[in-house]
């Protein structure tokens, strides 16, 4: 609960060290445009041995290998989508922090809009009913309240 990730890790007794930030100076590409694309891609890829960390943030050895791999593919002229596909082919859908919009993930992606539509329908029906309802009679006092009222008025 506390200390967002840090405390979670401690409590879950997980061991992935979060210490230093990930990208090393020697990894950076000289072409700033390519480098920016590489960073955007690595932020979307999950480190397979860490807990909920992207390879961009991770300190793990495998994350570094993947960062270098992504840069290598980009330098060789792959498009962003091709790089993502390349990595997913090897490590599975698990590494994608943004689940692809396929029919298997449709429920996830559409949950917000669907809940909104459903909720809006219910809310509108409720508000409509309230706006056309006749004014209610006052609820009668409970015996407890009547006793208290009597006690107060007798004072």
């Amino acid at each position: 609960m506390p200390g967002p990730r840090a405390f979670a890790l401690a409590l879950a007794l997980s061991v992935a060290p979060l210490a230093a930030p990930a990208v090393q100076p020697d990894e950076i590409l000289t072409d700033p445009g390519l480098e920016a694309r590489a960073r955007a891609i690595t932020a979307e890829l999950r480190c397979v041995v860490c807990q909920a960390e992207s390879i961009d943030d991770s300190n793990a050895e495998i994350a570094r290998d993947l960062r270098l791999l992504v840069r290598e593919r980009l330098t060789e002229g792959d498009s962003d989508a091709e790089v993502l596909a390349f990595v997913t082919d090897r490590y599975g859908e698990f590494v994608l922090f943004r689940p692809p919009f396929t029919w298997r993930n449709a429920v996830l992606w559409l949950s917000g809009p669907l809940f909104l539509l459903l909720g809006a329908g219910l809310a509108f029906a409720y508000v409509r009913r309230r706006s056309t309802a006749p004014a209610p009679p006052r609820p009668p006092l409970t015996p407890e309240e009547r006793a208290r009222l009597e006690a107060l008025t007798n004072e």
Binding site: M1, P2, G3, P4, R5, A6, F7, A8, L9, A10, L11, A12, P17, L18, A19, A20, P21, A22, V23, Q24, P25, D26, A43, E44, R46, Q51, A52, S54, D57, G92, E93, F94, V95, L96, F97, R98, P99, R104, N105, V107, L108, W109, S111, G112, F115, L116, G119, A120, A123, Y126, V127, R128, R130, S131, A133, P134, A135, P136, T142, E144
Partner: protein
């Protein structure tokens, strides 16, 4: 000996909780006043016993009693005192004990200040509260005993996870727990109301301050966690959509919705059963949070199996309290029909929309958080849901909320007109769009994030001002008249404006840091310098030193502006030998307009060091905004109508003095 006394006190607390769970409930059902009254001293005793147990555990940590397994596993004799004290709750068992301690504290507060509650309601609320306490005391004693001894005590302890050795540990968990557990009050009141079959304005007036208090703590607790992560993790991230963060965020979203719907119950006698449902859900999500973190189930289905005893026990508690309350709700909620009439355009409707957006946003977070679990359990697929999903799926709801907030919060009760609500806001709208356009023209790229965020932020902050200004007829009436009106404006209205403005301030910070943060990663040797965001940073040297329970490499980096040295930063790399773990202590030059954030990386082969520099524009506005929101809550809390536990006697004295209320 003290440890055994603590253990014994905890067992007694469980017995008292069981008594308090049963006797007042029976008394309330039968109308036996003396049975109902048992709840009051019982709640006090339960708190005192739990406090005694907690202090006994803290004592064991302070004196480094390594014959206690928990202390041996999580402490070390060389650890600084503050982390020995805070280390009490820096582990599973201790943090559960803190959780229960706060639960009993809230029960004791209701017992102490609840003199003006109807006796039946108070008895039932305290009985429900004690039921929760009994469940968690049982959990601690049976599966997570913090007082377990070791037959063969080690010479020294295993130390605390270095990431937790930070002042943040002293404050963040207690605040967060005050928030989580504070929501148990709303839950207990909701259950009591369902049993009684009655929800009225007086009920809402009792629930609101408790919810507000819990919400304030939760707001501060989450903000502190975010602030802590920002400087501790070494790259200036402040929110990760990590499952553990999400489970703290969901109760916050729901309690925000609850705060707003309780207003409708109080003022208009509508939305009753919905408010009850929200109260149940808000605390249920707190419980889910405890479960998720403790069982590790979200991390992986397999982590759950690594400690099945705790996981199953928690799952049973969860099932009983969530399932039980929802069943009770389904059975009793139809009794709670209300007949308030309001038009489609009214503040009631506005608050319904607020609730709709907040609850749907919560569900999106919930779905995203449990999706990996569902996919693995149901389809055997291993998938991840991370920040890119949440940014995309969650943000639209908050944007929508910010768009509608100013006019909807101005709408009058019962019947209003959007045109009239907008009339004090047209100028604000124009100014906000102008500020957004200015931001757009100043930034080089074409991304709309910062301009839209700044427009929304200005819309919220200025909208809150405009609301107050029109309420006090600023510049339309004489200044003295405006001042008189300002002084007479209920505190709750000030609180509302302050909290809404705080949201705007946070949105501003979030938009700016997300859109405009920049970074620089390079290898440097002593004497090297480089320019960043109008400054020049120069590495003067790196020195090795030894701390209390760690060794450190500390860099000295000078900040120069126009050739003159205006400050130095000391980023550090530490190594904690007991846990064999390195940490990064970033150095931050904080400011209102930007943070200059420097982290020291690894030594390079050629004798240089990796240095990471981040410029985080307006970072602090995120947390300042959260503090402003909490301040708004505090202001509202001092409103005489909702004052927490304003003792009945004082109210009577005020009535006797015959000052006309309102």
């Amino acid at each position: 000996m003290i440890v055994e006394l603590g253990h014994f006190a905890l067992i007694l607390a469980l017995l008292v909780a069981l008594l308090q769970a049963v006797v007042p409930m029976v008394g309330a059902a039968r109308g036996w006043a003396d049975w109902m009254r048992v709840a009051v001293p019982a709640a006090g005793v339960q708190f005192a016993l739990t406090l005694a147990a907690f202090l006994a555990l803290m004592h064991a940590f302070v004196v480094s009693d390594f014959s206690v397994r928990l202390v041996a596993d999580n402490s070390h004799s060389l650890k600084p005192m503050i982390y020995k004290v805070a280390g009490t709750w820096g582990n599973h068992e201790g943090s559960m004990l803190l959780w229960v301690l706060i639960l009993t504290l809230f029960g004791a507060m209701v017992a102490f200040w609840g003199g003006n509650l109807p006796p039946g309601l108070r008895a039932r609320v305290l009985a429900v509260q004690a039921t929760i306490a009994a469940a968690f005391l049982g959990f601690i004693l049976l599966t997570s005993n913090p007082f377990a001894r070791l037959v063969d005590p080690p010479f020294d302890g295993n130390d605390l996870n270095p990431l937790l050795q930070d002042p943040g540990l002293a404050f963040h968990p207690p605040f967060l727990y005050l928030g989580y557990v504070g929501l148990s009050m709303a839950y207990s009141f909701a259950i009591a109301a369902l049993i009684e079959g009655r929800v009225d304005a007086a009920w809402a007036r009792w629930v609101r301050p408790w919810t507000l208090l819990a919400w304030m703590f939760l707001t501060i607790g989450i903000a502190m966690g975010s602030f802590w992560a920002y400087y501790e993790l070494g790259w200036g991230g402040w929110w990760f959509w990590d499952p553990v963060e999400n489970v703290s965020f969901m109760p916050w979203l729901l309690s925000t919705a609850l705060l707003h719907s309780a207003i409708v119950v109080e003022k208009r006698d509508a939305l009753k059963s919905w408010t009850i449902l929200l109260a149940i859900l808000a605390f249920s999500f707190s419980l889910i949070g405890a479960f998720v973190v403790r069982s590790g189930v979200i991390t992986s289905v397999h982590a759950f199996a690594s400690d099945p005893e705790r996981g199953v026990f928690l799952l049973m508690i969860l099932g009983a309290f969530i399932g039980g309350s929802l069943t009770l709700y389904a059975w009793r909620a139809p009794v709670l029909r209300s007949g308030a009439v309001f038009s489609v355009v009214s503040r009631e409707s506005g608050l319904v929309v607020n609730n709709l957006l907040l609850v749907v946003a919560t569900l999106v977070v919930f779905f995203g958080t449990i999706w990996p679990l569902l996919a693995e359990m149901l389809a055997g697929r291993k998938v991840s849901v991370g920040p890119p999903f949440f940014d995309l799926a969650f943000t639209p709801f908050i944007v929508a909320l910010a768009v509608i907030l100013p006019p909807f919060s101005i709408l009058p009760w019962k019947r209003g007109s959007l045109a009239r609500a907008m009339s004090p806001l047209w100028g604000v709208l124009a100014l906000s769009v102008a500020l957004g356009a200015l931001a757009w023209s100043l930034q080089t790229g074409g991304a709309m994030l910062a301009p839209v965020g700044i427009t929304l932020a200005a819309w919220l902050v200025l909208g809150a001002f405009a609301d107050i200004a029109s309420r006090i007829r600023l510049s339309r009436a004489a200044p003295a008249e405006s001042l008189r009106r300002a002084l007479n404006l209920p505190r709750a209205d000030w609180g509302k404006a302050i909290a809404h403005a705080g949201l705007g301030v946070s949105i501003f910070g979030i938009a700016c840091i997300t859109a405009w943060a920049s970074e620089d990663i390079r290898a440097m040797k002593p004497g090297d310098s480089f320019p960043v965001a109008g400054y020049v940073l120069r590495l003067d040297g790196v020195e090795h030193s030894t701390g209390a329970n760690y060794s450190a490499d500390t860099a000295t980096i000078a900040i120069l502006r126009d050739g003159a040295e205006i400050g130095t930063l000391h980023p550090e790399k530490r190594f904690y030998p007991v846990q064999r773990m390195p940490t990064t202590e970033a150095a931050i030059d904080r400011g209102l307009t930007r943070d200059l954030y420097v982290a020291l990386g690894d030594p390079q082969e050629d004798g240089g060091w990796a240095v990471r520099t981040y410029v985080k524009p307006f970072a602090n506005w995120i947390w300042i905004g959260a503090l402003i929101m909490a301040a708004g809550g505090a202001t509202s809390l001092t409103d005489r109508r909702y004052r927490v536990g304003a003792p009945a006697r004082r109210a009577q004295r005020a009535a006797a003095a015959a000052t006309p209320a309102e």
